[in-house]
Structure formats: structure tokens, C-alpha cells
Symmetry: C2
Subunit: 115 residues, 2 copies
Amino acid sequence: MAEISSDVIRGYNDIIILYLLLSKPSYGYEISKQIRVLSEEKYIIKETTLYSAFTRMEKNGFIESFVDEDMAGGKKRTYYRITEAGKEHYRSKREEWTLTKEVIEKFIADEGALV
Amino acid sequence: MAEISSDVIRGYNDIIILYLLLSKPSYGYEISKQIRVLSEEKYIIKETTLYSAFTRMEKNGFIESFVDEDMAGGKKRTYYRITEAGKEHYRSKREEWTLTKEVIEKFIADEGALV
DNA sequence: TGTCGTACTACGACCGTCGTAGTAAATATA
DNA sequence: TATATTTACTACGACGGTCGTAGTACGACA
């Protein structure tokens, strides 16, 4: 079975993460699980990729973090919520996706051309 | 208008170049023009990206080069032809594309969810 | 004479992703 | 009770495809 390589998914992690933050604020572990489940195990994001995406996107103003301090055992959990700039970024990435899809599909041959 | 970023196209250059080599051997400048025309100016591959893709794919055995020595003015032109391994690579990348497309589209919201 | 098109090569910077490792508490399993 | 697994991160350097910049050289056209 084909697997999704990092080169191919690169550039789409933003859109995936932001999509999940559209409905409600969330945090690393939950996002990671949601990606796994929603993609039906077809894409499992690496932890380091996810957390570095958070850092990058917060720097860019696409998301904002806040900490839940009231957890059992004094544990802390960092939540992220999408900003207006983040929604705008999502829109533009979605447009880019549509365009890219159109382009790539011009270079997909049917099996006949491959023999 | 949205533009295709390098992060988003990364990983698809192989498939694009190999597709064009499926029908006949070709060379850098011609491939570059074909990409521009076939994509209706939506994707213009950078020269350095294209030539480094050639080098990489030849190392990987996906393409083979040969030189046309008989050009006017003693100029030389390097052609590339796709190998069997290249066709196999194309097939597997095409499968990966199908899978990736399915996954990404699960994370595309319609405009309503964005308000 | 100069610009444009053709057809490359060289080289280092960039940056998103990945591999590896470490920390630590809560929960499940034996 | 002891151990493994799950949860929830952080740190840091390596990797590699893409890009920016620069340079070379010939032909055609104005």
C-alpha cells in the first residue's frame, strides 16, 4: 500500500491543523489523534512536525496559545485557537490546493500510457 | 490570484517531469516550456529545480541521459529518457497522489464553516 | 550593437520535516 | 504491587528538495 511521504504532505500540514482548529481550540495530542482518525490511519503526523508547526504558526499569527492550568496533578496543557489571520491563511491555502490539484491532474496518465 | 508555493508542489515535480518523459525523451528547456503551457501558466518550474531533479532522478535510476552532439554550432543538448524503474516510480507516485488527495480533501471546509 | 531566446552549470541558503532522546504524571494491565 | 502504555510535551541537529544568484555561450533578430 502506498504511503504518504513527507515531501508530498509538506505544505498541507498547516491546512490540516487549521481545519481542526476551526471548530474549537485544541492541543497537540488531540489534534494528532483527530488526524489519524479522520484520515482513517492514512496519515499519522509526526509529533515533532506537529509541535513545530504550532510554534511556526503562532509566530506567524495564525494561532494563539493559552494554557489550561487546572488539570489534575498540576499538569498543564497548551491549547491553540485559530485567529482571524489564521482563517485567512486557511482560505488562501485552500485556494492554492484547488489550483495545485488542477495542475497535478494534467500530469496524471491513465494506465494505458504507461505500458 | 493564488500561486503555487514550493512547499506545496514539492514532491510532485518528479511526477510532472516523468509524465512528460513517458511519451518521448526530452531535455530541460523543452520540459520547462511544456510544464508552463500544459499548466496554462499556473506552474512555472524554476530552472535550478528542474536540473537538480534530473540529476537526482538519474542517480536513482529513474531516467537516463544521452547527448545530442550534432547540433548547429557544435552545441550540445542533454536528453533524458525514462527507464522501467522510472515508470514504476511514476506509478507509485501516482498512487500516492490519489491517497494524498483523499486525505487532504477531508480537511477542506466549505465557506460556511469559515464564517 | 544590443537584447532576447536557448541551454545549461555551480554553489550556498532556506526551512519544513524527521530521528532521536529525554521528561513526567496518569491510567491500564499483569 | 510492579510494569507497560498512554498522555503531553521539549530540545536539537540532520536531511534534502527548492530557490536565489550568478555565470557561460551561441544564434537570431532589430
